[in-house]
């Protein structure tokens, strides 16, 4: 099936929000937040969209059927890096190389920006995704080097921010 990958623009936020909401079975993701956070002067993230031609649109009429969100990070050891926050393809469009194409595009954009690493997180029970990523050549920093993901939020973060 024909598809194209391109940079996301402000108008795509509606479709990105739709796909985020559907993929997570949670209450609606805010399109307004995506517009504000991704398309202002100093965006927190960048996006790419996978699109199919009209004749392959979904029964609801959507042609934007996958996306990846990423942002630039930094390693004090290796320098510039890119983090892929989300990678998603609508179920009926899977198995056609679209997910792989989105991930490759993030890697290409990262290299063009001078990055040496492409990082992301996966849940350990998500075996099919883990196996896919490992087969593409990445390594498991948690399993191999013992790094744990730590988070402070809510009251703990408020408390931490007290001088």
């Amino acid at each position: 099936m024909d598809f194209s990958i391109r940079a996301a623009n402000l108008d795509d936020c509606k479709d990105i929000a739709r796909m985020i909401t559907v993929s997570r079975h949670v209450c609606a993701c805010s399109r307004a937040h995506l517009e504000q956070d991704g398309f202002s002067k100093n965006p927190f993230f960048h996006g790419i969209i996978a699109e199919v031609p009209e004749q392959h649109r979904t029964k609801e009429g959507h042609t934007k059927i996958g996306y990846a969100l990423y942002f630039y990070t930094y390693s004090s050891w290796k320098g510039r890096a890119v983090y892929m926050e989300d990678l998603y393809v609508m179920p009926e469009f899977r198995g056609k190389g679209i997910g792989k194409a989105l991930m490759s595009k993030v890697a290409q954009l990262g290299l063009a920006a001078g990055c040496n690493q492409l990082d992301f997180t996966v849940l350990e029970w998500n075996k099919s995704s883990l196996d896919f990523y490992l087969s593409q050549g990445c390594f498991d920093v948690t399993a191999d080097l013992g790094y744990h993901c730590m988070r402070c939020e809510g009251e703990a973060l408020q408390h931490l921010a007290q001088p």
Partner: protein, 173 residues
Amino acid sequence: MNFKIRAAKKDDSKDISRLIMELAVYEKMPDRVMISYKELERDGFSSNPFFQCLVAEVPEENKSKEGHTIVGYALYFYTYSTWKGPSVFLEDLYVMPDFRGQGIGKSLMSKVAQVGKEKQCVRLQLLMRDWNTPSLDFYVAKGAQDLTASEGWHFLRFDGEALDKLANEASID
């Protein structure tokens, strides 16, 4: 002991680089440090920096035996969660051994959290080595959750040849 926490300036890059190497030695991986103060200058102090940095400074009379007054740093950057919005990632936090136990580490971390809060960040995240019990305990005592232990999150990475290969498979615009 008197100390102050302030935003790093470009001139601090050599000191930050020195402290990065000390931290890498502590993490038992000094041979993994590939960047020097020059990359820090280029990437941290332009109009669109890849990272932000705070340094902890002591007065001249308390300088280290090698003559350093910059005795700690915190290096961080802004990230994004499509679940929750802007977040801050603490890449490095380090205080020279002779200056520990004075609240400098806690002050650096609080300042990062404060700066993040001003930017509407809802999370502060970091990676921690599982053998680093003193640091793990420090963060958990401050209210951090270990998402790897509790939810099974793993951090994955493409670098080197694997990254080049992945990028080569992308379509050209």
